[in-house]
Every structure is written in C-alpha cells, then in structure tokens.
C-alpha cells in the first residue's frame, strides 16, 4: 500500500533536482526569517515584561527560534543531498543519514505548525498575565520611594501614553486605588482627613486619573481630577465627554497589539511551513526514484518514486520502535537478568 506513487522520467528527475535546489534555498531563507521573527517577538514581549505576571507566553517565540534554526539546518542538508542526487557515485553515502534526517525534519516541521497554533491558544494565558501585572502596576504606582517598585510609575505612564489606554479594564480602575502617595498629602487639611476617614481602609481615593490618561485629541485642556463631578468644571458633562481621557483599558490594548503581531507572524510561518513540507516531499520522491535507478545499467530509465513504502500507520510505528526500544531498554534487561540469577541459584 504505497503512498504518493509517481512515475519519473530522467528529464523529470533533472527538473525535480533543479526545482528542489531552488526550493531548499527559499526554505533556508524562510527558516532565517522565522528565527528573526521569533527574536523580534521575544524582544517585544520583554519590553513590556514589567506589566506581565509570568513568562508563559515566551514559549511561542522560543519555539519559533528553535524551529527557525532547525529549519535552516534541515534545508541546508536537503540542498546538499539534492546536489549529490544525480551523481550515482556520491549519492549512496547519504543512505544511512536519511532515515534519522527525515525523522528530525518531520518533528521540527510539525513543531512549526504547533508554534502557530500555540500563538492562538496562549491568548488566554497572556490576558490573565497582563491582568495581574497591570493590577500590581497600578497598585504600586505611588511607591516611587520603595526600592524595586520605584519605576512602576514611569512604566505605567509610558504604557498609557504609547498605547493610548487608561487603567486595567478602563479608567475607573484608578478610582479604586490610592495613586497619590501619602508623602504629598497634607494631613492637616480638612478635605484630606475627611476623605481618608470616609474610606474603610483609610485610603485616599479620588475620582481622578494620572496625566498620562489624558487624550491629546481632546479639544479642551485635560480634566484629570473630579472627573465625575459635572459642576466642578464649566461646560462639562462627564457622560457625554468622550475625548477627554482615554476610555479603553490597557489590558485590551496590549492583548490586541500582541495578537495582531502573532497573527502576522503566524501567517508568515505557515507559508514557511508549506515550503518546508514541499521540500521534504520532493526530497523523498527524488531519493526513492534515484534508489530505483541505482545498480541499473541504463541511468536514463523511467523509475517510480513514492512518499511512503508502507501505509502511514505502519511507517509511523517503524519510526517509533527504535525510540521506544531505547526508552524501554533498561526495563527489558533487568527482569531478564533477575530471571537468570533466580534460575542459577
């Protein structure tokens, strides 16, 4: 039950070699691009690493980098094999190399596909990581005098200005947190004392946001304090005023940004995956058709090339057997050894 059988004349074999040479070059380039994209994604994730709680999402760029490097190696060898394919003298030396080569190639090519799927699956993990990270960032915003937290203010301000967002879910997150440090509160003032007393945890909460939430597109100077108080500002209606501060939350903005990035990268990696698969399939066809030629007197004859000699399942078991044997080796030998000892005694 041969899979992917195809008859190849001598001319077709030559054309296949030429096409494969070009494709393997393209695929090497694709591998380099995949590696670069992985590096770029990792850099982008690290830039905002301070507002992320964990680094689970880094598995996507790490996988891309590994796959990119492996792909460059695989396609380099594919190109070399292809070069030697038509030379009956040089081709046989690749024989023993081919089986593990195919095994590795298929493993890494599948890993490429898995990386693309991962980038969609990890969205939830990214979102929850950002939720916790941003919550902490907002909580420690005022602690510019605490070592380890003194740069939170800067980080959050930069983030809000760059992504044009405010708070975690939205700007109201700032109303629930004391973001003005006690160092800058006049405790002798009646207003401050009242506000602190009216709060259960003795926190100074205001209906105001930091300046980085201000929207430059607003036609009026920014209103960042007493946002919900219509009478505090002239000609101001809190419900209808849309352009004053950024309404959207930073979590959504960041998730959208990273998912957009990963979608684009996913598209590119998918096309590299397709090129890589065609390289491997063509190489297999070439190898099998050349093996049929080997030993024949007339090298110009038409031969048959195929992808798999047996069916998919049987070939898969064939590959898996040596791996399983290697893993079970210790367990197989010890019962035998104890059996012989018992037999002797």
């Amino acid at each position: 039950m041969v899979v992917g059988k195809m008859k190849l004349t001598s001319q077709k074999r030559v054309k296949l070699v030429q096409g494969l040479g070009l494709l393997s070059w393209l695929a090497t380039l694709g591998g380099a691009i995949t590696f670069t994209l992985g590096c770029f994604l990792k850099t982008e994730l690290r830039r905002r690493g301070e507002v992320m709680d964990n680094t689970d999402i880094h598995c996507v760029p790490n996988t891309l980098m590994i796959v990119g490097l492996a792909s460059m190696g695989i396609n380099y060898f594919a190109g070399r094999i292809c070069q030697d394919a038509l030379d009956a003298g040089r081709f046989p030396r690749w024989k023993t190399f081919l089986k593990p080569f195919y095994g590795c190639s298929i493993f890494f090519t599948t890993l490429m596909l898995i990386a693309v799927i991962l980038s969609y699956i990890m969205k939830g993990s990214l979102e929850s990581s950002l939720k916790i990270g941003l919550k902490n960032g907002i909580r420690f915003y005022k602690d510019t005098d605490t070592p380890g937290r003194c740069f939170q203010k800067q980080t959050i301000e930069r983030l809000q200005m760059e992504f044009q967002c405010c708070g975690n879910n939205d700007y109201k997150d700032w109303f629930e947190v004391q973001w003005i440090s006690n160092r800058y509160l006049d405790f002798s003032s009646k207003e401050v004392k009242d506000r602190i007393k009216s709060n259960v945890d003795a926190r100074y909460l205001v209906d105001g946001v930091p300046f980085s939430c201000c929207n430059p597109r607003s036609p009026r100077p920014c209103i960042q304090y007493k946002i919900t108080n219509n009478t505090a500002h002239y000609n101001y209606d809190h419900q209808t005023e849309e352009l004053n501060i950024f309404i959207g939350g930073c979590r959504e903005a960041l998730v959208n940004y990273y998912m957009g990035l990963m979608n684009t990268i996913g598209g590119v990696v998918l096309s590299v995956f397709l090129i890589q698969s065609s390289v491997l399939a063509s190489l297999r066809l070439l190898q099998t058709s050349m093996e049929a030629v080997a030993g024949q007197e007339n090298l110009e004859i038409e031969t048959e090339g195929y992808l798999l000699e047996k069916g998919v399942k049987e070939t898969f078991m064939e590959y898996l057997d040596p791996v399983l044997k290697l893993m079970l080796l210790n367990q197989v030998t010890s019962p035998e050894a104890t059996g012989t000892i018992n037999a002797d005694s």
């Binding site: 510019t144 005098d145 003194c150 203010k153 800067q154 301000e157 930069r158 200005m161 973001w179 003005i180 440090s181 160092r183 800058y184 509160l185 006049d186 003032s189 930091p210 300046f211 980085s212 201000c214 430059p216 597109r217 607003s218 036609p219 009026r220 100077p221 920014c222 960042q224 500002h233 002239y234 000609n235 101001y236």
Partner: protein
C-alpha cells in the same frame, strides 16, 4: 611639464579601466544612497511642517537632485570605462570624454556644496522653528477653527514625544492664553478678576498643558499654580526639577535635526571623496588612452596625467579661449580677408558708369 604624470603599460590601462568600471557601478549605488538620504530628510521635515514658519526645502531638494544626477553620470562613466579596454571602442567616446570629465568635476563640486549646506542649515531651521512654535502655542486653544484644529494635538504629541515644554522653556505658556474662552466660566469672579487684571483681556495662568508633565517625576504632576508653593503640599517651585519637562521644544527639535544633518553630512562627504577619486581615475584613463592613439601602437606604454601643462599655463590657456569666444564676430589677423585700408579713395569702388 605635466601635473602628476604616471606611466601606464597596456595591462595597467586595462586593469584601470576594469577597476573604474566596477567603481562607477558602486557610484551608482552611492547615487541612490544620496537620493534616499534626501528623501528621508524631506519626509522628516514634512512631519513637523506645521511647527515651522517657512519651508526648509533647499537641502533635501539639493540632495535628491544630486543623487539622481550622480546615478546618471556614473552610469555613463561605467559604460565609458567598460569600452576603454578596447581601443577601437574608445574612439566612439573620444570626443565626449573631456566634456564628460569637466561636467563631472563641476558635479562633484555640487556634492561638496550639498554636504556643506547640511551643516549650515541649522540657523535657518532655528529661526523657522522659533516662529513656528510661537504661532503653534498661540493657536493651541483654537480647536474649533478650521485650519488650526489639529495644532493642539500636534503640540501635545510633540511635547510628549520629545519630552519638552514650550518654545524656549515652560514659562512660555505663562505668557499666552492656552485655555479657550469656551471653557471659562465668565460668571465666576476669579475668572473675571484675572481677565480684568490683564491689559489685553487674556486669561493668563501660571499653568501648563498636561503634555509638559515629566514622566520621571516621583509625584503626581503639578500643572496648575506652578509658582505657588502654598497651593501644593511639600512643594518648592525653585528646587522641584522633575515635575515638568525642562527642555524647550525648539532646542529639542534642533538637536534632533542637527543629529540627522550631521550624519547625512558625514555620509555625503564620504561619497564626495569617493566620487573625486573615481573622477581622478577616469582622467588618468582618458589621457592615457589619448596618448596611446597619438603614438598609434595600441600595446605601447603611455603617460597619463591630471593636467598636460602646469596649473598656471592651463589656467592662462583656458582664460584666453574664454576671452576669444567673445571676439567671434570681430576683425582678426587673417590676411585673406579684404580689409579696406583708410588711405584708399572711396570712389575706387564706384562701378564705372
């Protein structure tokens, strides 16, 4: 007494021609580089066009045109040098080569001028930015007037991106009304007092827009009542350095553009040196090929030089040519021309009746 004479064997000439061909191809690439540098500079200036009072387009236009001409000139030069290996093909270009070299010489001079203009652009730019920023700050509040409605956004984005405030410093905001009357409660006595206390009826405050706030400050931004120490707790206006952006936007933008200009100027100078060396090589090749043709033997040795005579002699010779160009239609010393002498009687020329 030639200037910088060098003797070339046949193989030397061929090698020189090949090397010059390659160098001319590289010069086409440098021409493209010049063009793209000019384009980049033009885009950078257009991005901040609203903040400049007049167009600064002389330098980028110069670079763009010089880049395009460089591509054309060096492409032609490459073709000529490629043909110079073969003496018969050289005959095609023989008459064109000297004008080509003279044109290229003036052209490389233009590249040098372009490079020097890059360094001199700063003064023009400073003047333009000073007036442009002053106007932008004045129209900051006019978000309801067509043509000026985006100035607020441009100014805010500029101050945030370059971490600057105002024209020369944050105090510039104290001298203009940047809060529109639409958002001032004219029934409020405090507002009325402030308006009345100003000669021109402008609402001036010691406050700045939010975009002047410094993100490196350890406390929430104080943007209103900046000079009033008692208005804010634990605040000393004189010693507080991190609250607002200290740099003026004019200086920030000037620094930004000066950095770009210095890099571009350096690259253009390097390209100029490269072009001059290529031109020198082409001149040597031209004189060597012409001397070969003069001797008649294509395989012989020949001399190449920059100038045939000394610099003074060549200058005098060329000056005479230019002087005599003007004398085209005047009398000269050719004996074949019939010049009537003053002693002859005029009636001799009257035909016999």
């Amino acid at each position: 007494m030639a200037v910088l004479k060098v003797t070339f064997t046949k193989t030397n000439r061929d090698k020189l021609a090949q090397v010059l061909w390659v160098l001319n191809c590289v010069s086409v690439v440098t021409g493209v580089t010049l063009f793209s540098l000019g384009l980049f500079l033009k885009v950078e200036i257009e991005k901040r066009r609203e903040l400049m009072s007049k167009e600064i387009d002389s330098v980028p236009n110069m670079l763009i045109s010089v880049g395009l001409i460089a591509c054309a000139v060096n492409f032609l030069g490459g073709k000529i040098c490629y043909d110079c290996v073969d003496t018969t093909k050289f005959l095609r270009w023989k008459l064109l080569m000297l004008p080509y070299i003279i044109c290229t010489f003036f052209f490389t001079f233009c590249i040098l001028v372009g490079a020097l203009m890059c360094y001199s652009m700063r003064n023009d730019l400073e003047e333009s930015l000073f007036q442009g920023l002053r106007d932008a700050m004045r129209y900051y509040k006019d978000t309801d007037m067509p043509g000026r409605c985006y100035i607020k956004r441009t100014m805010d984005m500029l101050q945030m991106q370059f971490q600057c405030c105002g024209n020369g410093g944050y105090r510039d905001w104290f001298h203009i009304q940047w809060i529109s009357n639409r958002y001032l409660d004219m029934t409020n006595s405090e507002v009325v007092d402030r308006l009345q206390s100003n000669v021109e009826g402008k609402y001036l405050i010691d406050g700045v827009p939010f975009s002047c706030c410094n993100i490196h400050s350890s406390r929430p931004c104080i943007q209103h009542q900046i000079t009033n120490n008692s208005a804010n707790y634990n605040y000393d206006y004189q010693t507080e350095e991190l609250n607002l952006n200290r740099k003026g936007c004019r200086h920030a933008l000037l620094d930004h553009y000066t950095d770009i200009m210095q890099s571009i100027g350096l690259i253009v100078l390097t390209i100029w040196l490269f072009e001059v060396s290529v031109l020198t090589g082409v001149r040597y090749l031209q004189t060597a090929m012409e001397n070969v043709l003069r001797f008649g033997d294509p395989d012989s040795e020949s001399d190449g030089w920059i100038l045939e005579n000394s610099i003074a002699d060549t200058a005098r010779y060329n000056f005479n040519i230019i002087k005599n160009l003007g004398k085209c239609y005047q009398v000269d010393d050719d004996p074949n021309i019939d010049v009537p002498s003053t002693s002859q009687q005029p009636h001799e020329n009257v035909p016999a009746s």
